[in-house]
C-alpha cells in the first residue's frame, strides 16, 4: 500500500497541511462516545458531596448519622472521618521560597473557606438516593467574616482567610532600568484594569469513576491530565503509583478547568478503597460553577512611559492576583505566565513586573484558556490604545513604531525570552486589508460628525504568546514541580499498520487526526492506517498531557522523533532483505530502496512483516521496529497575529454589536487547516465571552450568584459574528515541524480587540474605560457618567487606586464593580 497520491504525480500527497476531516467525529456525531458519566460498573455506587453554604465558617460539628439511615445509603462521611488518610490537595508550583501554601484537605475538617467547599459525602445505591441523603446531614457552622476584596484583604487588620494571612506571595521580575525609562519621560500613561473572574465552563461537567480491586485502583476521570493525576494521586494518598491506573476516556472540553487534581478525584479514590466497591461521582452544572476552579481575576496597575513620537521607554506592571481560598495545582504560576508577555511584541528599554498572590474566600482560581497570557495581552493592548489616543496616533501606527521587525528575529525581549520568528508586518497588513480598515475609519469619522446614536468603534490587538509549555529547564528555573517534555511511541504492526501512542491527552483538539497526518507523512503510510492511542496510563504510560498549546509543539514533535527511529531501525532490516549495505539505501516516503536502483526496495509494510517473522534478521538486530521518543523543547514557540474588531455601540441603550471581526494568525506550519480554523473560532468566541458577557459574581456575603448557565452567560450562536480568518505562515525555527500552537491564540487576542473597539466607539463621549464584561448596563452607565462630567474616581471609589497619576496621564480608572469612565476631556482620536 502507498499513501494517498497527489493527482498526476505518482508521489504521495503531503498530509501535513491537508484539510482532513477528523477521525474522532465518527463516534462523536453518532452518540457512540465514552464520557466518564456513561461508565457503569457492576455494583457501582454513587457519591454526592455536601458543600459549604458559607464563604467562611468554622465547622463545630458534622452529624452524618441520619444520612446513613436513609434508604439506599451505604455510607456517609464527614471530613474528620478521612482526616488521617486524605492528605492535602497539591500545589505543584511554589513560585517563591517563602510562598504561603495553606493546607488543603479534600474534605474540610475544621473550617470552610469558600461556598462550595466539600464538608461531607454520601455513598448510595443511585444518584437520587445519594442526593436525597445530603439533606439529612447536620452541620453546625460558626460563620466567620468573608474576605472578598483583594485590596481590603491586604490591609492591616483585615479578616484573614488563613492563619498565615491573606498574602500568598510576592513575585518580582525586571529587565532594564525602569527609573531611567520613566525619568523625564514625555508621556506617562497610568491605568488600572480589572480582569474579572471567569468560569471555564467546559460543556462536559466533571465526572469520576473509581474501581478498587485488591490493592489496584482504576480511575476514569474527565481530566486533561491522566498522567499528572496518577502521579499526584499516588503522592497525596500514599497508594503506590504502580497500583493506580488513570483513564481519561472521551473528555468534553477542558480549557484548563480539567488541568487539576481535584478533591472529588481524591475522595472518590478513597471511598472506593474504603468501601471496596466501584464509586462514581458526576457533577451538576450548578455544583461545578462553584467547585471547578475559576480563571483570571486580577487587578492590573500599569504604567507606561513613552517618547512623544510613540516609542516605548518602559512598562511597569503591578498585579494583584486572586488565588481564591487555596492554591490548586498551578494557581500561583498562572499570573507568572503573563510576566513574560506584558511586553508582548514590543521593544522597550525597561520593564518591571510584580505580582502579589492574594487569598480570598472564593473558589480557587487556576489555569483557564491562555492562563496569564490573555491577562497580559489585554493589559498591554489596552495601554497601546491609550498611548495612541494620548499621542493622537493611529493605534496600528503606534504598534508598528514599537514592534520587533521581521528582520530583527531572533530577538531577545526585555523580559528575557528569545522570540525565534515572526512577521508582524505581514499579519497586520493582511488583517488590515481583509478588515477594510481605512474604509471603516472613514465611516467612523462620518458617524461621529453626524452625531449618530450608534457609534462605530475599531479595536486592535496585535498579540504574541508563549506556547509549547515548556522547556524543562525553564520550568525548573520558575520552581515548577515537573518538566515540560512529551513522550511518543510508534508501533509497527505486522500488517504494516501503525499504532501511535502519545502522552498528550486530547479532549476535543483532534490529536487522533493530526497525529495520523504527521505519521502518514513521516513513515509514508496511508492516513487511514494510523491509529492514535492516548489518555490511559496503562496504554500510554508516560506523558505530560494537554494544556498550554503544547500538544503539537511538544507532543507532535515527539511523534516525529519516534518515526525517525522507526525509519532508522527499518533501514538495517531492509538492507538485509535487499542484501545491500545500509549505507547504500535511501529513504523515500514509505520505502527504503537501493540508491540509484529504485526498483530494488522494500516498503515499510514489507519490512514490518519481515521484522515480525524475524526469520532472517542480521545478528544482534532486535525483531522490532517500535520506537519511543521524548521531546523536550529548547524554547517556547511564539504564535502571533493581528485581530481587528469593529463594534457598533448604541449610545442610548449601551448595546454592543460586533459588526465584523478579522483574525490573521501566524501559528507556523499548519498540519490541518480545518482544525486550526476551528481552534481560532472557538478561541475568539471565548475571548469575546470575557469582553462582553461573562463574569463570576459574588454577593456581599461571598455567595457565588452565577451558579447556573442562566446567570453566567456563555455566548450563544446568536451573540457572535462571523469570524473572517486569514493566516500568514512563518515557521517556527525552534522545532522540526515549524509549528507554534494554536489552542489559546484566539482567546488571548480577542478580548482586548473587542474592548478596544467598544471604547474607541465611545471616545468622543469622553469614555475612557469600561470594565469587563461590557454589558449594556455598564456601557450605558459609562456613557452617562461621562456625559455628567463626573470622574468615576469621585464617585464609587476604586478599591485599589494606584498612586497619584503623573500629570501627563488622565488619572486612574476604577477597576471594580461598576462602570467606569474617564475624565471627559480625554480626547477623541
Amino acid at each position: 500500500m502507498t499513501a494517498t497520491e497527489a493527482p498526476g504525480t505518482g508521489t504521495p500527497a503531503a498530509e501535513i497541511g491537508r484539510r482532513r476531516v477528523r477521525k474522532e467525529d465518527t463516534r462523536l456525531v453518532t452518540g457512540q462516545t465514552n464520557w466518564t458519566d456513561n461508565i457503569r460498573l457492576p455494583g457501582m455506587l454513587h457519591v454526592s458531596f455536601l458543600r459549604s453554604p458559607f464563604a467562611h465558617a468554622r465547622i463545630n460539628s458534622v452529624d452524618v448519622s441520619a444520612a446513613r439511615e436513609t434508604p439506599g445509603v451505604f455510607a456517609a462521611f464527614a471530613g474528620a472521618d478521612f482526616a488521617a488518610e486524605q492528605g492535602a490537595l497539591p500545589c505543584a508550583w511554589p513560585v517563591t521560597e517563602d510562598i504561603v501554601i495553606p493546607e488543603h484537605p479534600p474534605m474540610a475538617v475544621d473550617e470552610v473557606r469558600y461556598v462550595g467547599e466539600i464538608v461531607a459525602c454520601v455513598v448510595a445505591r443511585d444518584r437520587y438516593a445519594a442526593a436525597d441523603a445530603l439533606d439529612a446531614i447536620d452541620v453546625d457552622y460558626e460563620p466567620l467574616p468573608p474576605v472578598l476584596d483583594m485590596t481590603e484583604a491586604l490591609k492591616e487588620g483585615s479578616p484573614t482567610v488563613h492563619a498565615a494571612g491573606n498574602k500568598s506571595f510576592d513575585w518580582v521580575f525586571s529587565g532594564g532600568d525602569l527609573d531611567e525609562a520613566f525619568r523625564d519621560a514625555p508621556v506617562v500613561i497610568e491605568r488600572t484594569f480589572r480582569q474579572q473572574r471567569l468560569i471555564p465552563s467546559a460543556m462536559e461537567p466533571r465526572a469520576v469513576v473509581c474501581a478498587a480491586v485488591g490493592d489496584e485502583y482504576t480511575m476514569w476521570s474527565a481530566t486533561q491530565i491522566p498522567h499528572i493525576l496518577r502521579l499526584m494521586l499516588a503522592m497525596v494518598t500514599g497508594i503506590p503509583e504502580q497500583n493506580i491506573r488513570v483513564i481519561a476516556p472521551d473528555v468534553g472540553g477542558g480549557f484548563g478547568s480539567k488541568l487539576q487534581v481535584t478533591a472529588e478525584e481524591v475522595l472518590t479514590l478513597l471511598l472506593a478503597r474504603r468501601l471496596g466497591k466501584p464509586v462514581k461521582w458526576t457533577e451538576s452544572r450548578s455544583e461545578g460553577n462553584m467547585a471547578v476552579h475559576h480563571g483570571r481575576d486580577q487587578i492590573q496597575r500599569l504604567r507606561l512611559a513613552a517618547d512623544r513620537d510613540g516609542r516605548l521607554r518602559g512598562l511597569s506592571v503591578d498585579l494583584l492576583a486572586d488565588m481564591g481560598a487555596y492554591l490548586m495545582l498551578v494557581t500561583p504560576g498562572v499570573p507568572l505566565l503573563g510576566a513574560f508577555m506584558f511586553n508582548a511584541i514590543y521593544k522597550m528599554d525597561a520593564y518591571s513586573f510584580k505580582c502579589t498572590g492574594v487569598f480570598t474566600t472564593k473558589t480557587p482560581t487556576d489555569a483557564y484558556r491562555g492562563a496569564g497570557r490573555p491577562e497580559a495581552t489585554f493589559g498591554i493592548e489596552r495601554m497601546m490604545d491609550e498611548l495612541a489616543v494620548e499621542l493622537d496616533m493611529d493605534p496600528l501606527a503606534v504598534r508598528e513604531k514599537n514592534w520587533i521587525r521581521h528582520e530583527e528575529f531572533p530577538f531577545t525581549t526585555i523580559a528575557g525570552l528569545t522570540y525565534d520568528s515572526g512577521n508582524y508586518e505581514a499579519a497586520t497588513a493582511k488583517a488590515r486589508e481583509i478588515f477594510r480598515y481605512d474604509e471603516l475609519r472613514k465611516e467612523q469619522i462620518e458617524r461621529r460628525a453626524a452625531g449618530s446614536p450608534v457609534q462605530l468603534g475599531l479595536g486592535v490587538s496585535t498579540y504574541t504568546e508563549m506556547c509549547g509549555l515548556a522547556p524543562s529547564r525553564v520550568l525548573g528555573s520558575l520552581s515548577y514541580g515537573a518538566g515540560g517534555w512529551e513522550s511518543a511511541s510508534v508501533r509497527m504492526l505486522p500488517t504494516g499498520k501503525v499504532e501511535v501512542v502519545t502522552g498528550s491527552s486530547a479532549h476535543g483538539q483532534g490529536h487522533e487526526t493530526a497525529w495520523s497526518q504527521i505519521v502518514a507523512d513521516k513513515l509514508g503510510v496511508p492516513f487511514e492506517d494510523v491509529r492514535v492511542l492516548h489518555g490511559d496510563t496503562q496504554v500510554s504510560p508516560k506523558g505530560m498531557d494537554t494544556y498550554g498549546s503544547r500538544s503539537l509543539t511538544v507532543g507532535g514533535v515527539a511523534v516525529v522523533g519516534a518515526c525517525a527511529k522507526v525509519i532508522d531501525k527499518a533501514k538495517v532490516i531492509a538492507a538485509a532483505m535487499l542484501e545491500a549495505s545500509p549505507d547504500d539505501l535511501e529513504w523515500s516516503p514509505g520505502r527504503w530502496s537501493v540508491r540509484g536502483d529504485p526498483e530494488q526496495g522494500k516498503t515499510i509494510a514489507e519490512i514490518a512483516l519481515a521484522t515480525f517473522a524475524a526469520h532472517n534478521l542480521p545478528d544482534g538486530v532486535e525483531p522490532s521496529l517500535d520506537s519511543d521518543a521524548t521531546y523536550d523543547p529548547d524554547n517556547f514557540s511564539f504564535p502571533h497575529g493581528t485581530h481587528l474588531c469593529a463594534t457598533e455601540v448604541d449610545t442610548e441603550t449601551g448595546q454592543v454589536t460586533i459588526r465584523s471581526y478579522v483574525a490573521v494568525d501566524d501559528v507556523g506550519t499548519v498540519v490541518n487547516p480545518l482544525i486550526v480554523d476551528g481552534q481560532v473560532h472557538g478561541g475568539i468566541a471565548q475571548g469575546i465571552g470575557q469582553a462582553l458577557f461573562e463574569e463570576a459574581a459574588y454577593d456581599a456575603d461571598g455567595n457565588l450568584v452565577t451558579t447556573t448557565m442562566a446567570d453566567y452567560l456563555l455566548p450563544s450562536a446568536a451573540d457572535l459574528p462571523v469570524f473572517q480568518t486569514g493566516r500568514t505562515e512563518t515557521p517556527a525555527t525552534s522545532n522540526p515541524l515549524g509549528v507554534k500552537g494554536v489552542g489559546e491564540a484566539g482567546t488571548i487576542a480577542s478580548t482586548p480587540a473587542v474592548v478596544n473597539a467598544v471604547i474607541d466607539a465611545l471616545r468622543p463621549l469622553g469614555v475612557r474605560d469600561v470594565a469587563m464584561p461590557c454589558t449594556p448596563e455598564r456601557v450605558w452607565r459609562a456613557i452617562e457618567l461621562a456625559r455628567s462630567g463626573r470622574s468615576p474616581d469621585s464617585g464609587e471609589a476604586p478599591s485599589a487606586a494606584p498612586a497619584a497619576a503623573p500629570a501627563s496621564a488622565s488619572g486612574p480608572t476604577a477597576e471594580s464593580g461598576q462602570a467606569q469612565v474617564s475624565n471627559p476631556t480625554g480626547g477623541a482620536q
Binding site: V21, T30, S201, M203, D677, E729
Partner: protein, 178 residues
C-alpha cells in the same frame, strides 16, 4: 412508581419509573442511550436535546433534562443514536465535513435541535440558524462551522449540491500566504 411505555430509537420500552425521574436520566440509565449527554441542570445548554413525537406524530426537539420520564409515556423518541437510517443523517455528515464539533459534547443536542430547525425551515439563512440554535450552547467552536454545517445539510436534504467542503455560505477567508 409509575408505569410508562416509550419507544426510543425504534425499540419499545415498558418500565416502572419514579415520578421524579428526569427523562434524560431515563434515556441514559434505564434505556442505556448514553449518546445523549447532560450539560447543565437549568435547561440552558441543550446538550440533552432529543426528538419526541406525541399524539400528532410530529417530531419536535425537547430538552430531555427539563421533562420527566413520566411525561414521555406514549411517545416516540429519537436520540442521536437512532438518527442514522442505514447511512448517516445529512446533519451528521455535514457536522463532520464542516468541522462543526471539537470535543463533541454539545453535538448530539446540537444536531437534534438542528433536525427540528430544518424541518421548520429547510433553507435557513445563517442568521436564522444562529437564532434557531440559540438554546444550544457550544464552548469549543464559536458556532461558525455549526452554522455552515446546518446550512450544508439543509441544501443536501433539499437535493441541492452540498458544496465543496467549506466552500459555501459564509465562506471565510482562510488560506496561507507564506
Amino acid at each position: 412508581m409509575n408505569h410508562i411505555t416509550v419507544n426510543v430509537d425504534g425499540v419499545t420500552y415498558s418500565d416502572d419509573v419514579e415520578p421524579r425521574m428526569l427523562l434524560v436520566h431515563y434515556l441514559r440509565e434505564v434505556a442505556g442511550r448514553t449518546g445523549t449527554p447532560i450539560g447543565c441542570d437549568t435547561s440552558n445548554c441543550g446538550a440533552c436535546t432529543v426528538l419526541m413525537s406525541g399524539a400528532d406524530g410530529q417530531a419536535r426537539s425537547v430538552k430531555s433534562c427539563s421533562m420527566l420520564a413520566v411525561q414521555a409515556d406514549g411517545t416516540r423518541i429519537t436520540t442521536i443514536e437512532g438518527l442514522a437510517n442505514g447511512e448517516w443523517h445529512p446533519l451528521q455528515k455535514a457536522f463532520r465535513e464542516e468541522h462543526a464539533l471539537q470535543c463533541g459534547y454539545c453535538t448530539p443536542g446540537m444536531i437534534m435541535a438542528a433536525v427540528d430547525l430544518l424541518q421548520e425551515n429547510p433553507q435557513p439563512t445563517q442568521q436564522e440558524v444562529r437564532d434557531g440554535l440559540e438554546g444550544n450552547l457550544c464552548r469549543c467552536t464559536g458556532y461558525q462551522n455549526i452554522v455552515r454545517a446546518v446550512q450544508r445539510a439543509g441544501r443536501e436534504m433539499a437535493g441541492q449540491p452540498a458544496g465543496e467542503p467549506g466552500g459555501s455560505g459564509e465562506r471565510q477567508q482562510a488560506g496561507a500566504a507564506s
